[in-house]
């Protein structure tokens, strides 16, 4: 068991070291949700009326509503960013080094996933701290309760990134991921507006949002921040995590998958 623990610790530490060396990535990951929180939300506050919906017990400001969605945004963008770095790693060869380690391939990939998720969670807490400084805060226990929700959501989005990286042939194709994965996933979710609000304009869009795993990841985080369980969201997020992971492991399977197909 010891070699597994040693390898896991090294893979996570490497992700952390890479992150420390890319401070601009940390800033970019924070600036994006902060712009949404402090600029976009301020403009939309007047346009969007919110009713009382669980887990909220009272009327809330729009800024308060979108905080969990913006936590999800950090995890989503980081998941895709790590997918980009995986494609880069594969082209540069360092992915080869990882995959030739004498450990099961699933373990190596899952370890990498955990490493990337830990870094994402650090960024989420930095964002939550800044949001609290601007008066958008939760009960102290909510921050702790959100940790497992953030971990699961981060793993789900990281697994999606991993699966995508196994199907993206070249780095240049990555722009398509932005257009076809990140934006639809983010906008067709409950991150920016509640689903009942979406149903007012289009029941079809509401249904699409309702099956989007990102919606459930956001709701899982939202409820956890308010110390409540959302079991359907938990179930959906866990199911999507397993599905994306299975897809990723298939993509990196030495007997099939992209590595085998490309020259």
């Amino acid at each position: 068991m010891r070699p597994w623990v040693t390898a896991f610790a090294a893979i996570v530490a490497r992700e952390a070291l890479r992150f420390i060396h890319q401070r601009e990535r940390f800033l970019a990951a924070l600036v994006r949700p902060l712009v949404w929180l402090l600029v976009f939300a301020a403009g939309f506050r007047a346009a969007l009326g919110l009713s009382i919906i669980p887990p909220y017990q009272t009327y809330i400001t729009y800024e308060t509503y979108i905080v969990p969605g913006l936590c999800g945004m950090i995890l989503l963008f980081n998941g895709m960013q790590s997918s980009l770095s995986l494609v880069y790693d594969r082209e540069m060869g360092s992915m080869r080094l990882l995959l030739t380690a004498p450990l099961p391939r699933w373990f190596l990939l899952v370890s990498k996933l955990f490493g990337a998720t830990f870094i994402s969670i650090l960024q989420v807490y930095a964002f939550l701290a800044i949001a609290a400084a601007f008066g958008i805060d939760m009960a102290p226990g909510g921050y702790l309760a959100a940790l497992p929700a953030l971990l699961l959501a981060g793993l789900m989005l990281g697994a999606l990134g991993l699966a995508l990286s196994s199907f993206i042939k070249q780095l240049e194709n990555f722009a398509g991921v932005m257009n076809f994965v990140i934006f639809p996933m983010f906008f067709l979710s409950s991150a920016l507006y509640p689903l009942w609000k979406m149903a007012e304009s289009s029941p079809l869009l509401r249904d699409i949002c309702a099956v989007n795993p990102f919606t459930h990841a956001v709701e899982l985080i939202r409820f956890a921040l308010y110390l409540e369980w959302n079991l359907p969201a938990l179930g959906w997020t866990a199911l999507a995590t397993l599905g994306f992971l299975a897809l990723a492991l298939r993509g990196y399977d030495p007997a099939r998958g992209l590595i085998r197909r490309r020259r």
Binding site: G93, S94, P102, P254, A255
Partner: protein, 238 residues
């Protein structure tokens, strides 16, 4: 501990990249896998390192069958890939420590092996430098030092001198020859450069996915210079 490849066939769609490739590199032997660009060397390395698997054929590293015991085979194999695989933001020591950990080595044991590996390749004084600041020759030396950390029985190198100047090429080629001769390491060295092959090396000539020749280099090319012999057999430019 040897390297055995038997009846290995691999296709990219309808194109056959390797066609019933087979050879044995005995323990302590330096084998040069010589072939022009596109001969199938990189595909063979992809299979030898289990980046992907072939539907037919067999690979055994130091007695461990790659299909049945992949972890045993990978644990006994050191690899230097053609593409650079160093993390440029990390120091030489951090790169080596990361690799050591992937092979289950940590703490004092890892540190002493890293020091020994760096000493052997005259890289100890560079241990704290970021690999981004190293020249091509030193980066390759770092990769070779790294590939030896877990004391493999078989060392695979895929065109390791690409992009290096003449002095660095000679130093690295000589060093790996010495590893086979003095330390009993089994070496498979893929190249398209005939001047990297010594007269008493095992020479495996790969062309269009097939083994055209396999034997001791000087016995194969005889009085004909190796470069001319190679060109005549493959019609390629060396």
């Amino acid at each position: 501990m040897s390297l055995e490849v038997a009846d290995l066939t691999f296709r990219y769609g309808s194109k056959t990249a390797l066609d019933a490739v087979g050879f044995i590199v005995p323990p302590g032997r330096f084998a040069a896998l010589l072939g022009p660009n596109g001969a199938g060397k990189s595909t063979l390395f992809g299979l030898l390192t289990r980046l992907f698997t072939a539907p037919s054929g067999r690979i055994a590293i130091a007695g461990h069958d790659m299909a049945r015991s992949p972890r045993g085979a990978l644990a006994r194999m050191g690899v230097v890939f053609q593409q650079p695989t160093l993390d440029l933001d990390l120091t030489v020591r951090q790169n080596l420590a990361y690799f050591a950990a992937l092979h289950g080595l940590a703490g004092r044991e890892a540190r002493s092996r890293i020091d020994a590996a760096l000493d052997r390749l005259w890289m100890r004084e560079r241990a704290s430098e970021k690999t981004r600041d190293l020249n091509g020759g030193h980066r390759r030396r770092t990769e070779i030092a790294r590939a030896l950390l877990h004391r493999p029985s078989v060392l695979l190198l895929d065109e390791p001198t690409v992009g290096l100047d003449a002095a660095a090429r000679t130093a690295i080629t000589d060093h790996v020859h010495a590893l086979a001769r003095d330390e009993g390491l089994t070496v498979l060295w893929a190249t398209h450069l005939t001047d990297e092959v010594a007269n008493d090396d095992q020479l495996i000539l790969l062309h269009q996915g097939r083994i055209l020749a396999d034997g001791t280099a000087h016995e194969l090319h005889g009085a004909t210079p190796l470069r001319e012999w190679f060109l005549a057999r493959t019609g390629a430019e060396a």
